[in-house]
Symmetry: C2
Subunit: 258 residues, 2 copies
């Protein structure tokens, strides 16, 4: 089977024009079929402030009322996604922007209200790869933002890490899938305060031990859960590192395995 790379780039890189430009130029040189998934960064919060829409975060997660969903859709699927697509085109990478509604690629259910009502937030239920593989077969690169839909006309805000891992799982029936998370650090750190303490390899056993010892930063835990879930569902390889890891592996980064 051919190998596909699903590459997620985090919000801190999206927020930095120079870093994003460099990343997109490197992404364009990645050979073979590939998919980009991007986070949202701070632009949505800025627009909400400009529009006097209250920003409500609980444990780092955005409560998404109807106005906030509009803002997210405008910023993620509009401004960020389309500028990334235009930049990739200028780098001769033929890209098409996606939400999960496009091509009915990612179907979610609105998160049930328990203690907290997250509003228009979607938990992924199903991935349909038909549109994606048709484009990949024509050397076209899908670029996903962090929005899905419920098949009943409702867009839903969805975690970008989860979108990347669910796409990777869905595509693992057709490809060897390699899932790469790019963020501002060089990999998963053994000691949160020491950027040089990158863990090279981490299997499930090591992960569970380190988790019990509270090794990981709060934001890293759900990312790692996503990664091991992806590995257990057929994804071949998961890598976490800084953006240069997509074109150059003569450096530190973390490889996860079961």
């Amino acid at each position: 089977m051919e190998t596909i790379k699903i590459i997620k780039v985090g919000g801190n890189i999206i927020d930095n024009d120079a870093a994003l430009e460099k990343f997109l130029s490197q992404f364009s040189t990645v050979k073979g079929p590939k998919i980009l998934v991007h986070g949202g960064g701070k632009l949505a919060t800025k627009l909400a402030k400009d529009m006097d829409v209250p920003v409500n975060m609980i444990d780092g997660r955005r409560i998404t009322d109807a106005d906030t969903l509009d803002i997210i859709t405008m910023v993620y699927a509009g401004k960020i996604n389309k500028n990334i697509v235009a930049k990739l085109q200028s780098n001769k990478c033929n890209a098409i922007g996606f939400t999960g509604a496009d091509g009915n690629t990612i179907v979610s259910v609105k998160r049930p209200v328990k203690k907290i009502d997250y509003g228009f937030v979607g938990d992924v239920k199903k991935v349909n790869t038909g549109a994606i593989t048709a484009l990949l077969d024509n050397n076209i690169t899908p670029v996903f933002c962090a929005i899905t839909h419920d098949e009943n006309g409702q867009l839903l805000n969805t975690n970008a890490d989860t979108i990347a891992s669910e796409l990777a799982i869905g595509l693992s029936k057709h490809y060897q899938t390699e899932l790469i998370y790019c963020f501002e650090k060089d990999g998963v750190l053994l000691s949160i305060d020491d950027d040089n303490s990158v863990i090279d390899y981490m299997d499930t056993g090591t992960y569970e031990t380190l988790k019990i010892n509270n090794t990981f930063a709060d934001g890293m835990l759900p990312k790692l859960e996503n990664c091991y879930h992806a590995l257990s569902e057929g994804v071949s390889k998961v890598i976490i590192g800084n953006p240069t890891v997509i074109s150059n592996r003569d450096q530190k980064f973390t490889t996860l395995f079961l």
Copy 2:
């Protein structure tokens, strides 16, 4: 050759939730390959006001500075386009949203500055149909908003009527193309003040005569120029009418021919 319908829906319908919902439901029932092109409506102007970005229109055309381009990208490619795609999915029409940057489908040049500097406005230079036909072959319907790009990373604001006619011309090499403009009237009017004065058929000769007699409303003239340009470049048929014309032709509408 198979027939494809390129259907443009105007801003007045976009601005009216009930009318849009009805239109999208009808659009979903149109058989065979089809493409939707949508205008922007008044939402971009509203957002500009919310964000204190000055709105500058000359002869009904928006002067597009960098802030305005951001707003247009957010509203057209984000909020409007993605909600249309989600609605079409709920009607079992498998749609994918496009700007001209996506799939490198519509390449424009920034309009040269003469008397007026229109800013980031693009005049269409080239249409690439590869991504579109790959999707159409998989029963997927492209949905275009009125944004193109210059292949150098710059998005450009582009007239939606022009996008529809240029797509129709580009696709006329692969399909019999039928171009349908839907707006709030029943067709081209012989007398601007009489909604019942719909012209049934109009060839180039009649058009030129009526133009000299100042028959047409200001907004209608560039639309008609687009239409005759499309016909002269290989488009089989151009129809102008209200939205129901896409599924029901037992009513008044205007057919244009050379």
